[in-house]
Every structure is written in C-alpha cells, then in structure tokens.
Amino acid sequence: MTNHLSEEELILHYYGETDRADEPRVDAHLSWCGECQAESAQLRRVVMMVETADPVEARPGFERDVWARLEPRLDANTGFFHRLVDRSAQRDGGWFSQWALAGGVAALVFTAFMAGRFSGGVPATNLVEATPSLGLPAASLDRVLHAAVGDHLDRTQVMLTELVNNDVGQAGLFAGEQERASNLVAINRLIRQSASQSGDAGVADVLEDLERVLLEIANAPADVTPHELSDLKDRITAQDLLFRVRVIASEMRNRTRTDREAGDHGLSGVEGRLPQRPPIS
C-alpha cells in the first residue's frame, strides 16, 4: 500500500518548510510518486495564480472601517501611533518628519488600499503591523504619505465646494454629501490628531474646524431643513474653511513635488512650515 503525501505536507514542501525530520521521507516520496508530483504541481499552479494576481481595489467604506479599528489604539500611549511618532522623530528629529506622520496614517489607509487583499477584514493590529512592510523605502513612503494627505484634502475641498455652492437640500443630494462627510471625517481625525501631537497647531486648528463641520454634516438629521443647511453653509463661509483647506492642500502638493525631486537624496531640504492660520473675517 502506498502512503501518499497529505495536502499539508505538500504545502509545507512548496513553502520549503517541511520539518527537518520529515524532509528525507517527503523528498524521497516525491521523487518517484507520479500522483503526488501531479498533486504538487497543481498546488503550485494555484498558488502562483494568487501570487501573480494584481492587487484589487478595496471595497467601498473600507476607509471608515479601518478608522473604526484604529481608533481604540490611538488612546493607548504605547500604541502604534506613538511608536510611529517615536520612529519618525528618531529618524530626522525635525518638525517635517514628525508632521509627515500625519500622512503616515493616511498612507496606512492608502497603502492598505494598494494592498487590497487586506480589504476583507484583517484585524486592526495585523493591518497596522503589516502595512508598513510593503517594501517601500523611507523616501518613497514619505512621498506616498504626502500624496495621501493631499488626496484627502482635495476630496474634502470638492465636498465642501459642492455643499456651499449647490442646493443639496433637494432630491436627497444631502444624503450623498453626508456619506462622503462620514468617510472623510475618519481620516481627517487621524491626520488632525497626528498634527496636534507633533505640535503643529496651525494645521491642527484647520483640521479641527474641518472635523467639526464634517461631523455636523455627517450627523445631521435626514430631514434637515433649508434653514439649517443655510446656517451650515454660513459657518463654512464665515470660518474661511474652504480657503484654509485649500492652502494646506496646496502645501501638500508642493511637498509631494519636492519629495519627488528630492528622490533618494532624502528630505533634508524640505524645512518650510505650513502657512499660519489666515485671519477669520
């Protein structure tokens, strides 16, 4: 009677992780058993299909889910967030790299999007631990970070512009804006907390005002009255919120450009601070 190799043994053999004690037996069996050779080849074809597949897009709402899982960890001083702060500060010791952390969180989401295979619900700790190890060099990661923050601010701008300029109270358009606001508020909170922790009060101020408005939009009742909507638009306008977001977004684009130009020569040439909070009229 022939004792064929089990699927588990074939998998471990494929990985090159057969127990040392079993290795001679497995190798010897595979050297002559056509049936197991065929089974092994089939296994290899399937696994290679997975390994050569392109990353897939994350499902809608993934960003919000990631935030929900990250949020509890932000409260713990020993958590991922603080480790990132420490690591960032150790690397360059400057304001710039510390603030880059803000984008780091955004990039956590962004790179997780790119590694879309995580999109189905990996526990937060695993996602957090796994995402930074995508193999990007530090300079590339910074580029991704700034691009991700810039992307968030651009999307926020678009949403606010539509809200201020359109009659979103009609035909359920406000519900759409609420969903967008709800998605944006999560990442905005991460960036704001990061900016605040790194001592960048100017940026944190803008993001705090922005968060308040986004929350107000997201949590508004479904039957919001035209008067309430008008009040909201007035507050956005009175705070110059759109202008201030635009300033930061523009700065992020500049940084992304500078990062690209800096290439592998590091980020030491980028030392400018973000513009101060413009006076509220």
């Binding site: 699927e7 588990e8 998998i11 471990l12 053999h13 494929y14 990985y15 090159g16 992780e17 190798d27 089939q42 296994l43 290899r44 074809r45 399937v46 696994v47 290679m48 299909m49 997975v50 390994e51 050569t52 597949a53 392109d54 990353p55 897939v56 590694a115 879309g116 295979r117 995580f118 189905g120 619900g121 990996v122 526990p123 700790t125 695993n126 631990e129 796994a130 190890s133 995508l134 193999g135 990007l136």
Partner: protein, 99 residues
Amino acid sequence: MTRPTSSRVQGPLSERGSESQPTPERVAASTQISDRVNDALGLLTALERAAFTLRHVEGMSIEEVGAKLGIKTSATKHSIFRAVKKMRNALEPFVEAGL
C-alpha cells in the same frame, strides 16, 4: 532542495518588477485573474486571509506569520492549510481552464 517557484524564493510581490510591457490581452487576463483571486479570498475567514496573505504576498515564513498575528505556529499552519484548501477549491477550475 530549492524551489524556485516559492514566493519565499522570489520575494514579495511588491519587490517584483515587470519584465515586459503588458499587452492588452495580458492586461485583460490579469484583470480576470485578479477578480477570481479576489472572489476566492472572499471565501476565507479574516484570520485565514491574513495568514495566507502574509505568507504569499509578504513572503513571510509560517513562524513569522504566527508572530505577526500573535498566534502559535501550529495555529498559523492550520489557518494557512485551510486557506490553501479553500483557494484550491475555488481556483482550480480556472487553472485547469488555462485562465
């Protein structure tokens, strides 16, 4: 014995470069494969998916995957075994069809 087809040998996908310019047919096939793989990954539990992905995309060893996920090596093995079994069941028809 070396196994040149193993992801451990080849390294993570993120480190691989494209050797040639993709043709439209190749792009279309690649999209189809990605869809199939994504559907199959959807059949896994969160733990199975995490273990499988860390092993095959990140190229970690089983022991490293276990450390990353905070579970014992034996539990990691079983998660990966279950994941591979499910992936095989889901993808073998497409492999045999030459997709």
